[in-house]
Amino acid sequence: MDPAQITRPTQAPLASLPAQTPPSRPPARGRAGGAALLARLRRPWGDRRAELALGAVSLLICLAVGAMVALVALRAWPTFTHNGLAWLGSGGDVDRQIEGMVATSNHPPASAYHVRAWPLLYGTLLSTGLALAVALPFSLLSSIFIVEFAPKLVRKVISPVVRLLASVPSVIYGLIGILVLVPFVGNHLVTIPEKRSLIGTVELTGASVGVAALILAVMITPIMVALISDALAAVPNAWREGALALGVHKLRATLAVSLRAIRPAIVAATALACARALGEAVMISMVSGSISFAPSLGHGPLTFLAEPVRTFASSIVDNHEGFGGAPALDSTLYAFALLLLFSAIVLSIGAYLIKLPLRRYQAAR
């Protein structure tokens, strides 16, 4: 054997192999460019070239994300220059302001950019907050049930159920909401005196923040259940058995040991669910009444839940037909999107950072 080959480092023969293997066909130099290129691509690739190609594809994804942030920010810029950050504040009817923008021409005056979106911000936070308040205890309880208490048969059923709930399209949730829940709330739950008390301000049809938050809770529960029950199942058995050996029962052990151990995962799941809820557009646009009304607890708690609301995401959907017509409207809607994008990025990075300490014992397992 060639001594030079023996002394080579072990990796080298692998890397140089394609160069040594002769091409199975003579190089197609005389043929058309396309065919020659195809023949060259067919030949076994060198490792270096393959890595570069795969890396380039991966970088393309990074570029797309960078382009997304940059492009949305760029389109939103005029709103920020004309309003500063004051556009998040209150003042005037935001629905009317946005409608006014549709009418402005292709070269809008500076005043066209005026917008004060506090009701939308309030509506977004309110619907998300209510949904989380319902979904968090619900998904904690059902995760405990799935991991600790469910009989084998039920457990077999419940994981496809969670997957199904997660994959039902938001438009179907919205359709059920608008054709079943909204009329039910409007006809049976909202009383006539309640409707009368708000005559002149807003009409209580049943399309409301309460219905929106309820459906939103159903939509985000599967995400939270999946993440929380994964974390619960990953708690080392010895920890729970230690508690059991000290004489507490199974539920106490779960509550005191497992739940405490996975607190970071619970926070992370809540953050991810929150990002999902903030960005839900189509369902909310269908069931929330699409009026930028700020529900007030002063009207009584039940009326409060029956009042309509509008969120950033749903107002983008509601005004999508104006895209490309009026720069002022475009810029405003892109500003909404930028806010959503920003909060989604912050929430997902936050979720990642919060979950870091969990790796300590998950790695040890």
């Binding site: 309880l141 029962h249 539920l251 557009a281």
Partner: protein, 342 residues
């Protein structure tokens, strides 16, 4: 009698090990009331989850059987926005199929290549590691971004003058950015994260010996990826692709913003047969449901129910496929490849 007498020591009652009794916590009835209530609530939540899913499927099924007629599937929608008369949803069905095809055929190579690069090449050296981290976190960001934001990003991209040929221009010469190509390409972004995650998980679960065996036989890294690793994680890729497809099929915001132009008919641009269709506007099942719900302009709830039923059937079927793949793979797999997560 002396208490310390030997016969007292010999008393078997005192020395016998304590008889195993049922501990205080072993019977449900010995629990504190609060714990009993929590347990009850946990059962209620778990069963409630099943009931909600069951109710949705059952309700949509009843409505579907009530309103879905076969001719709805094979007739085109009416030309106008109002769908209150004759006409079905053939065009939305075709639209959903075309969007899925475009979206997944862009996302599949991207996702698989990125996963292969990260797992197989992303570990060597600090520069590569940080680059791999960057790619992973970008995909994480895409996964967390609301679809409405992705939708108007797609619109912004395809409204750029350079990409004008991919959609149509309005009378005033402005690029509209509405087309099947634009919407499909935007869709590929939401199909990417599950595809990437499933492929990466599969590749990470392939034992190192498999790679080492391939290297020992003289295969290069890329040949190992192509001939050994990708075939062995085929089922993970299939799972990821199915999840991606079900995301695409179920997405509404992108269709409404990037594809639809109000009326649910697919309108071709120009006379070129295929390209004209792809450059044209149209609708999908989701946008048809949205448009015909009371929230939209078509306002024909019966058709909305029928289309939503078909949509739900697709989603159920895709879910079933995911389950089947996982089960078939668990049976046939030579080495353990983790099941893809949600």
């Amino acid at each position: 009698m002396n208490a310390y007498a030997p016969q007292a020591l010999a008393d078997p009652v005192g020395l016998e090990p304590p008889r195993p009794t049922r501990g205080r916590g072993s019977s449900l009835w010995g629990w504190r009331l609060r714990d009993q209530l929590i347990l009850l609530a946990a059962w209620g939540a778990g069963i409630g989850l099943c009931l909600i899913a069951g109710a949705i499927v059952l309700y949509m099924g009843i409505r579907g059987f009530q309103y879905l007629r076969p001719d709805l599937l094979i007739t085109r929608p009416q030309a106008g926005v109002d769908q209150n008369g004759a006409g079905g949803f053939l065009d939305p069905l075709v639209g959903t199929a075309v969007l899925t095809l475009i979206g997944i055929s862009i996302a599949l190579p991207l996702g698989v290549c990125a996963a292969a690069w990260i797992v197989e090449y992303g570990q060597g050296g600090r520069a590569r590691q940080s680059l791999a981290r960057l790619v992973e976190s970008s995909i994480e960001i895409v996964a967390g971004t609301p679809d409405i934001v992705i939708a108007i990003f797609g619109l912004a991209v395809f409204q750029l003058g350079v990409l004008g040929p991919l959609s149509s221009r309005s009378e005033s010469g402005v690029v509209t950015g509405h087309s099947f190509i634009a919407a499909g390409a935007t869709m590929s972004l939401i199909a990417l994260p599950p595809l990437f995650a499933a492929t990466r998980e599969g590749l990470q679960a392939v034992p190192a010996q498999v790679r080492e065996a391939a290297f020992a036989l003289g295969k290069t890294r890329i040949a190992t990826i192509r001939r050994v690793l990708i075939p062995s994680v085929r089922s993970n890729i299939a799972t990821g692709a199915t999840l991606g497809i079900s995301r695409i099929v179920g997405d509404t915001a992108i269709v409404i913003v990037v594809l639809a132009e109000g009326a649910p008919r697919n309108e071709a641009v120009g006379s070129t047969p295929v390209l004209g269709f792809l450059r044209g506007t149209g609708s999908s099942l989701t946008s048809f449901v949205y448009g015909n719900s009371p929230a939209g302009e078509g306002n024909s709830p019966t058709k909305a129910y029928a289309a939503a039923f078909v949509l739900l059937l697709f989603i159920l079927a895709l879910n079933g496929i995911v389950g089947l793949i996982a089960r078939a793979h668990a049976r046939s797999s030579g080495f353990d490849v983790g099941e893809a997560r949600l």
